[in-house]
């Protein structure tokens, strides 16, 4: 398998303080990599480093391109769709306008893709003319993912998509991500608190602690690690 995203000894900084101390990480083509770890371990920072939202050192390679010096909007243009913490919804715009913004950089007709999204998430079709801020949490998460998918990304970056959602909604959302991953050979880099669900779906996993990768390997391997089971899976 070839890697679509590779981080080599990546350090990241907030102002002067270093918060990632040399992270190595791989997302395989059409694969799903999950980052686990406690709060403050550097999971979100890792994602932000990939998208050029924090200052970083080291090498970040995406489809053969170096990303460290690129602007966030350029990286998005290369095919990295990032659904940030808090979903990044444009709450003052309508559902449909949110989707159109997702299609801003992508080639092809936005209307066709929008129909595809309404197929994946029928509830969004019902609410297309509503202000996005009036949607429920689960609907907003669907909208955020649909907006990212409008970019026809090669890599989808998700920061805690299950945060604050009912388990059934989470399952529905992940089922759709799985489907699109298989159908369109999209890769996924995921930060997720729900470790058992994440390890079940992912093929690679990394455990971060205070800015270091302390454990990595296949998702199955990490799921069988007794220490990880105790700390993150609870059995």
């Amino acid at each position: 398998m070839t890697a679509i995203l590779e981080l080599r000894a990546v350090k990241a900084f907030y102002g002067q303080s270093e918060v990632l101390h040399g992270v190595d990480l791989v997302v395989e083509e059409a694969g799903m990599t999950v980052l686990l770890g406690a709060n403050g371990a550097g999971k979100t920072t890792t994602l932000r480093a990939v998208c050029g939202m924090v200052r970083s050192e080291g090498e970040i390679l995406f489809a053969g391109r170096r990303l460290e010096r690129c602007a966030t909007e350029q990286i998005a243009g290369f095919g990295v769709a990032h659904v940030p913490e808090g979903r990044g919804t444009f709450i003052g715009l309508t559902v449909e306008e949110n989707l159109r913004i997702g299609g801003y950089t992508a080639a092809g007709r936005p209307d066709e893709k929008m129909q595809l999204m309404y197929g994946y998430f029928p509830i969004l079709a019902q609410r297309r003319r509503q202000q996005a801020g009036a949607l429920s949490g689960g609907e907003q998460q669907m909208l955020a993912i649909a907006r990212a998918l409008m970019m026809s990304p090669r890599l989808l970056v998700l920061d805690e998509p299950s945060f604050g959602l009912a388990p059934r909604v989470v399952e529905a959302i992940f089922a759709i991500i799985e489907r699109i991953r298989r159908e369109q050979q999209m890769s996924v880099l995921l930060v997720e608190q729900n470790a058992s669900l994440a390890l079940e779906m992912a093929d690679r996993a990394y455990l971060l602690e205070t800015g270091y990768v302390v454990s990595s390997g296949s998702a199955k391997m990490l799921a069988d690690d007794p220490q990880i089971r105790r700390s993150y899976l609870g059995y």
Partner: protein, 289 residues
């Protein structure tokens, strides 16, 4: 009754100018949370450009279009050169920068064109309309403003760039993640604001006569209009500007000496801030978590 209607219509014509400038203020405020105190002086400077072109024997509407284009580019340059360096500075720093711009434009205009009043031609003939209820000149000002508003509305509502500009104003980080160049959108916003201001300046100059301090009163009325409409609402800015224009005219005609008209604006500002700080249309967006 006839006089009242007359005053309302001429108030609407003045209000259309305030509405334009208020809209320019709101555009920049929404994009950067910044009240651009230099908006009036930028408009004044644009008007001098138009005046120079007209004096160079250019047809009025050609001068109008060229001035708008020059102002658009000028507005973008101001954002790039002066505003961008203080983008991440505290908001007061940026406000002080716009006040600095105000002084620079005022002094530069005085230096180049002197402080003497200049006559500025109106593109519209001055004839009574509808049994002297209004003049063709007022009608022309209202029509030009309306046309501009409709064009702007269509741009922001129906084009990809317009949508991207709204997105960038609302959630810059998320806009970047969607591949939108937020810096470019901000520059475009300043360009639009400068061009809108230019229209306001050109429309008001035949009435006020052109001089470097021409827009100081107009800016105050525009600011009142923007505040009245809710500083975050473009529709509110337009309606607020019109209300201010009509109120100012009626109060100046019937209640107080017209020399005191500016106080109307200040009193309106106080009333809005005390009783309805969000203005008429500046309601908070619906948010469910």
């Amino acid at each position: 009754m006839h006089q009242l209607l007359q005053q309302i219509f001429s108030g609407l014509a003045a209000g259309a100018v305030y509405a334009s400038l208020a809209l320019a203020l709101v555009m920049i405020y929404r994009a950067t949370d910044l009240v651009n105190f230099a908006q009036g002086e930028m408009a004044m400077f644009s008007t001098y450009i138009a005046w120079t072109l007209v004096n160079a024997e250019l047809p009025f509407w050609a001068a109008f279009v060229i001035t708008l284009a020059v102002s658009f580019v000028g507005g973008m340059l101001i954002e790039r050169i002066v505003i961008r360096p203080v983008e991440n500075a505290p908001i007061l720093t940026a406000v002080v920068v716009t006040i600095g711009l105000l002084l620079i434009f005022n002094a530069t205009a005085g230096w180049i064109y002197s402080y003497t009043l200049q006559e500025f031609p109106s593109p519209f003939p001055d004839r009574p309309l509808f049994g002297a209820l209004m003049t063709t000149r007022d009608m022309g000002v209202i029509a030009v403003t309306l046309a501009m508003l409709v064009a702007l509305f269509c741009f922001f509502r129906f084009t990809a760039t317009g949508l991207a500009m709204r997105a960038a104003a609302q959630n810059p980080e998320s806009a970047r993640l969607s591949g939108i160049n937020v810096g470019r959108m901000l520059a475009l916003g300043w360009g639009f604001a400068a061009a809108i201001g230019a229209v306001a300046g050109i429309m008001v100059a035949p009435v006020l006569f052109l001089d470097p301090n021409m827009m100081s009163g107009v800016l105050l009325y525009a600011f009142t209009g923007a505040l009245l409409g809710g500083i975050t609402s473009p529709v509110g800015a337009v309606i607020g500007g019109l209300i201010v224009g009509v109120t100012e005219n009626l109060v100046g005609t019937y209640l107080i000496a017209s020399q005191l008209k500016l106080t109307v604006a200040l009193i309106l500002i106080i009333i809005v801030l005390v009783f309805r700080p969000n203005g008429l249309f500046g309601t908070a967006v619906v948010r469910r978590v």
